[in-house]
């Protein structure tokens, strides 16, 4: 469970997150909103790349903001990036094995290989990532996020730029993450079909504020959400 209270982030004069209050319970949760709503900023706060002006973030009772970024990763925060960040010169195995893990030795290696297996890579783990296509690189990134016993998995637009077939596969992978790792998974994406296929609950941000939260189906029908996305509700 992640509890966010009064979270405010400012970049100079721009207030990116404006007193955000939000609770993510468990399972796979969606986080949507128009461009500039503060979704990626929220991920950056959780993973430690942005220091908030005020507010608290507690994850399973731990104060996340008290730790530096790499310590948060060691605690169990994993994230992927909007622009995919698989390391080209390393093999698939090494890309996943670079993630921090409480496991050691053969248990660790088995965990890494199981993560690669879990995301459904159909090539050998020894393959260099530089030779892979966009969809497989995304899977490598997701494998890195689910290896090493994560507690919170943050996925930032994992399906961006992927063809439909690969998005369908990715949706199945993401939906299974809470069962596979026990981690709370938060998905940011613009693809509403992906969000509704994967997330039980969804929160909507607009201009740094939470405007709706609840079950995904009800949120997507919410009048405020439609207005935030389309400018007006009458269109529909």
């Amino acid at each position: 469970m992640i509890e966010v209270e009064n979270l405010t982030v400012r970049y100079g004069g721009v207030t990116s997150l404006d007193g955000m209050n939000l609770v993510f319970e468990k399972g796979t949760c969606g986080l949507i909103g128009p461009n500039g709503a503060g979704k990626t900023t929220f991920f950056n706060v959780l993973s430690g790349f942005v220091r908030p002006a005020s507010g608290t973030v507690r994850a399973f009772g731990t104060d996340l903001l008290a730790m530096t970024h790499f310590r948060r990763a060691r605690w169990g925060v994993r994230r992927t990036f909007q622009t995919e960040q698989a390391i080209e010169e390393l093999s698939i195995y090494d890309n996943v094995a670079m993630v921090t893990s409480p496991l050691r030795g053969s248990a660790r290696r088995a965990d890494v290989l199981a993560a690669i297996e879990y995301v459904g890579m159909d090539v050998s783990p020894g393959t260099r990532v530089g030779t892979l296509g966009a969809g497989q690189r995304r899977l490598v990134e997701v494998a890195r996020a689910v290896a090493g016993k994560p507690r919170v998995v943050l996925l930032d637009e994992p399906a961006a730029g992927l063809p439909e077939e690969e998005t369908t596969h990715l949706a199945a992978v993401i939906r299974g993450i809470p069962d596979y790792t026990g981690a709370l998974t938060i998905l940011v994406d613009h693809d509403m079909s992906l969000v509704s296929a994967v997330c039980e609950t969804t929160a909507v941000l607009d201009f740094g504020k939470l405007i709706a939260t609840g079950s995904t189906a009800s949120v997507l029908r919410d009048e405020h959400v439609m207005r935030a996305y389309l400018g007006t509700a009458e269109v529909l």
């Binding site: 993973s47 430690g48 790349f49 970024h69 790499f70 310590r71 990763a73 060691r74 994993r78 994230r79 990036f81 960040q85 390391i87 080209e88 010169e89 390393l90 195995y93 090494d94 094995a97 670079m98 993630v99 921090t100 290696r109 088995a110 290989l113 199981a114 690669i116 297996e117 879990y118 995301v119 459904g120 890579m121 050998s124 783990p125 020894g126 890195r144 090493g148 596969h169 199945a172 992978v173 939906r175 299974g176 596979y180």
Partner: protein, 374 residues
């Protein structure tokens, strides 16, 4: 869907099989060629060389360690250092001081020189690695300049007393001692090769395990490294320390090779040349370090023997850097095998079809043009 539905136990069985695949030596041919080359360098080469070339071959082995350390920093972590010449001097000075001042065995002195250099290099690295690119290069270049000045005043030890071990009045300067088992030129050359091989294995072991993965991640994307829980400052410092350690060991070996060290033999320019040859040799490949050392030490020796002024090398290295920056960013070590493969393919095509049609002939000619110019 298949990956998601797979149960964990099943995944682990498959995982076990793939693990076995992973553990097999990656390139057995590569390994055996390497071993053969090392054996040739140790036993085949010495009878073919006179004293002049033996000395330069030893220097080549020693400088291969230096360029290996520099290649590690530049190619694997993305830290551009223009101060490696100064790091060599720290190692050489420390080893010379210990060899004159103590009766410790040679191997111990070399390791101590490496450790002292690692310590000093680490102290310099602590603030320096927070900088990147041009700024780091500038800081390290200034450092190299400062060391040249310091050494010009302090001088290298020559058997005198005190902390610096320098005595300007001395008329008969004793040479820096060598180990008893490697007293002559060939013996010392072999020792240098063995030490270089050990350093290469040390670096290789790093590259194949967790530090190597961390460095690769840092080089491509620091955010990704941090998000994976990699303490980037620590791993950069580790790379810096490792490079300083092996460079210090090279400096220690250099002391025994030169036997008489003078501060005017070490110039700030050396540091710049080191980066130039390291880039030309190739910083993404460990063979690049050997090629870089050959360019820096063996090529001038050959030119001098042929009566060609090695001042030409400054021009050659300038052109070489342009070539690296424009057409071959991975350096000779990656480019040469690729070109040879192309050439091989071309020859194979010619041999297989001796009376090739005119179209085939044209294609081959085009192939040779690219193979020849790159």
């Amino acid at each position: 869907m298949t990956g998601v539905d797979t149960k964990r136990s099943a995944a682990e069985t498959v995982a076990g099989q793939r693990l076995a695949l992973l553990r097999r030596p990656e390139r057995p041919v590569h390994l055996s060629v390497t071993v053969a080359l090392v054996l040739f360098a140790l036993f085949g080469l010495p009878p073919l060389m006179n004293g002049y070339y033996t000395g330069y071959a030893a220097l080549t082995a020693i400088y291969a360690i230096v360029t290996l350390g520099l290649g590690l920093l530049v190619g694997r972590v993305g830290l551009y250092s223009l101060g490696q010449g100064a790091i060599v001097q720290i190692g050489a000075w420390t080893a010379a001081r210990l060899l004159f001042g103590t009766a410790q065995p040679y191997w111990l002195v070399i390791i101590e020189a490496g450790l002292v250099t690692m310590l000093i290099g680490g102290l310099i690295g602590l603030p320096a690695i927070r900088l990147r690119g041009l700024y780091l290069a500038l800081i390290t270049l200034m450092l190299a300049g400062a060391f040249t000045v310091v050494l010009a005043t302090v001088n290298f030890p020559n058997g005198g007393g005190g902390f610096t071990g320098y005595n300007g009045q001395q008329s008969h300067i004793p040479p820096i001692r060598r180990p008893s088992f490697a007293g002559d030129a060939v013996g010392y050359y072999r020792l240098a090769v063995v030490v270089a091989v050990i350093m290469f294995i040390l670096v290789y072991a790093h590259l194949r395990t967790r530090p190597g993965r961390a460095w690769a991640a840092i080089r491509q994307s620091e955010p990704a490294a941090l998000a994976a829980g990699i303490n980037t400052t620590f791993y950069k410092l580790w790379a810096w320390g490792l490079a300083s350690f092996i460079t210090g060991i090279a400096g220690g070996m250099l002391a025994g090779q030169a036997r008489y060290l003078y501060s005017y033999n070490f110039t700030t320019q050396d540091s710049i040349i080191l980066l130039a040859v390291a880039l030309m040799g190739g910083v993404y490949n460990m063979w690049g370090a050997v090629i870089a050392a050959l360019l820096m030490q063996m090529l001038p020796a050959v030119l001098q023997q042929q009566g060609v002024s090695y001042a030409w090398l400054d021009i050659l290295f300038g052109i070489g850097i342009l070539q690296v920056l424009t057409t071959a960013p991975t350096g000779i070590a990656d480019q040469f095998p690729r070109d040879m493969k192309k050439l091989g393919g071309l020859i194979w095509r010619l041999v297989r079809r001796p009376g090739a049609s005119s179209a085939g002939g044209k294609a081959s000619a085009a192939g040779s043009a690219t193979g020849g110019t790159t």
